[in-house]
């Protein structure tokens, strides 16, 4: 029996766009910064609703980040969104110094995250952004699992936080399944399914795959816990430690390189507090390529069956 129902496929970027708009209605200082690809990164709703608060800066991402820092230092709340490969990687030095060292409230949207970007190929698939963003002091890293959650977390990040924030989201329409009523707080993981044999900790699009994997495992009499970690930094140490303690084996799942990303963040908590076997599902130190999202998720081992296989390996190492 499915515990979570897909309300209909939706890209997480639409949730991001809706969250920005909701925050902008509540706070007149919220501004949008555009680097040419406004609609494609979920900022068109805001730009159409508040044209006077949308600043177009062209294809110049380094400048966008610096300008955002200057606006934030002057009391504004700038939201800058572009493809994650540019938002987080091209601008890393500007983010490090102008944003993080100055500890200003700049919201950076990393669109087209993961390999599910598909046909555009390796250049446009953000697979290293979590690693680079989470290593920056003062930075909060948010990775919502579906459109509903993207909207809630984006609004909260803009209105509720005070330092730099990176919000990661995808382009593909993916299952929209979370309950708006469920408690969703930045920094708090969510146990979506109980389980005692193994814990699957997933982020972003991989949360749905993790739920599917848990069902597959259930058919084989393996009880898998599923935890959605939508805030990668600061990470919810309590929920991770509890999972390690109670299930004795962990699988992490992310649409990102396995080195330095979400899985590494979980492993850091596990080895420090309650060492148990950890298996990593993610991109295995390789670039992506062109293809349909489904084909790519299959080829690079990011499907539910891959998570289920990793869960069995983790249990086998107990």
């Amino acid at each position: 029996m499915k515990m979570y129902k897909n309300k209909g496929d939706k890209p997480t970027k639409t949730g991001f766009g809706a969250g920005v708009l909701a925050a902008a209605h509540q706070n007149g200082n919220v501004l949008g910064i555009g680097a040419d690809i406004t609609a494609s990164v979920g900022m068109n709703l805001f730009a159409d609703t508040f044209p006077g608060r949308f600043i177009s800066l062209g294809i110049a991402e380094q400048n966008c980040i610096g300008v955002a820092a200057g606006l934030a230092l002057s009391g504004k709340v700038p939201v800058f969104s572009t493809y994650g490969v540019f938002a987080a990687l091209r601008t890393a030095d500007q983010i490090r110094i102008s944003v993080c060292y100055n500890n200003v409230h700049v919201i950076i949207g990393g669109a087209h995250a993961g390999i599910s970007v598909g046909a555009d190929g390796a250049t446009h698939q953000a697979l290293e952004d979590i690693a680079v963003m989470r290593v920056m002091p003062n930075m909060t890293v948010v990775s919502p699992c579906d459109a509903t959650q993207a909207e809630i977390l984006t609004e909260k990040a803009i209105l509720g936080l005070s330092g730099p924030v990176y919000i990661r989201f995808g382009r593909e329409a993916v299952p929209d399944f979370t309950d708006e009523q469920q408690e969703t707080e930045i920094g708090k993981g969510q146990e979506l399914k109980q389980g005692k044999d193994v814990s699957i900790l997933a982020t972003g699009h991989m949360v749905w795959e993790a739920l599917e994997a848990a069902e597959m495992l259930s058919a084989q009499n393996i009880s898998a816990r599923v935890i959605n970690i939508h805030t990668i930094k600061p990470i919810d140490e309590d929920i991770i430690c509890k999972a390690a303690e109670e299930t004795g084996a962990i699988v992490t799942a992310e649409e990102h390189q396995i080195f330095g990303g979400f899985g590494s963040a979980v492993a850091e908590v596990v080895v420090r507090n309650r060492p148990v076997p950890v298996e990593f599902v993610g991109m295995a130190d390789t670039f992506g390529e062109s293809g349909k999202p489904e084909e790519l998720m299959g080829k690079y081992g990011l499907k539910a069956k891959d998570i289920a296989a990793a869960a069995k390996r983790a249990i086998g190492r107990k």
């Binding site: 800066l57 610096g66 002057s74 102008s98």
Partner: protein, 278 residues
């Protein structure tokens, strides 16, 4: 604060800043002497004549903002802040030391009053200045943004992204200054990477360009006043300075870009600064 009116008084302040720079660098044992000396006139003119600011209230919303993009000239920045009254002159001795509020490159997280931006990675300050100027425009505020850049910094591509955006958004409340001393760490700018024709580049990017002697306080005051009157476009002052200005024996010597004087050298340098007829 009240602008310093008399020319002689301003020139005395320039000398004081230079002596402060030499003393604090000698005490620190490292740091960037050359451009810190070369920019003393600019800092004196900005902090003691041009800018609206209140050292008793560093966060005053109506203050003019100074964005120092070249964080390595922090010693002259700190000297100007201390002499303006943001903190005690005594504290200049703590430059670059563990636990000091006077970081090697400015860091706001250490709590030094008067610092607008933590900076030091070249090519970022103009973008921040653009963001601030945009904020002032959006809120219809009259405060202005002054930014300071190095000539070597013009080699950073991000400067030109920022330059394009300032003109596009017609930021006439922003005046940048380029410290044109023709040298950088590896030697002459023209040899490391030619940045000329500089005036034409900025004009092509839509800026109003002024050129003046950056070691002449009167010329700087006059040029900043003209820049303030520009409407509809941002302005930039290409200020010709001498690296190491005030210390005759090291003027224009690029080897003093990133070096601190020994105690004996410091004594000699201070004497040269005090004896200089300006």
């Amino acid at each position: 604060m009240n602008a310093v009116k008399t020319k002689d008084k301003l020139k005395e302040i320039v000398k004081t800043l230079r002596v402060d720079v030499v003393k604090s660098l000698a005490e620190a044992g490292s740091g960037h002497l050359g451009a810190s000396l070369g920019l003393a006139d600019v800092f004196a003119v900005l902090y003691f004549h041009i800018m609206r600011h209140d050292p008793q209230n560093p966060g005053w919303e109506e203050r003019d903002r100074l964005i120092l993009s070249i964080g390595h000239v922090a010693p002259v920045y700190y000297a100007a802040l201390a002499r303006s009254g943001y903190f005690s002159v005594e504290e200049l001795k703590t430059l670059r030391k563990l636990g000091s509020r006077l970081q090697g490159h400015p860091g706001r997280d250490h709590g030094l009053p008067g610092i607008e931006l933590s900076a030091g990675s070249l090519g970022q300050g103009l973008s921040v200045a653009v963001g601030m100027a945009l904020a002032a425009k959006l809120d219809r505020r009259s405060w202005r943004v002054y930014s300071i850049h190095g000539d070597g910094e013009m080699q950073e591509g991000s400067v030109w992204e920022a330059a394009m955006s300032a003109a596009h958004h017609k930021l006439d409340n922003l005046t940048a200054l380029i410290d044109r001393n023709f040298v950088q760490i590896d030697g002459e700018t023209s040899r490391v990477m030619e940045i000329e024709p500089l005036k034409e580049k900025w004009e092509a990017f839509g800026w109003k360009v002024f050129q003046c002697d950056g070691n002449d306080t009167e010329a700087l005051i006059e040029t900043y006043s003209k820049a303030r009157a520009v409407a509809g476009q941002p302005s930039v002052i290409i200020a010709r300075t001498k690296m190491g200005k005030g210390v005759k024996t090291i003027e224009d010597d690029y080897r003093w870009h990133g070096k601190a004087p020994s105690p004996e050298e410091a004594e000699d340098f201070i004497k040269q600064i005090e004896d200089e007829n300006v």
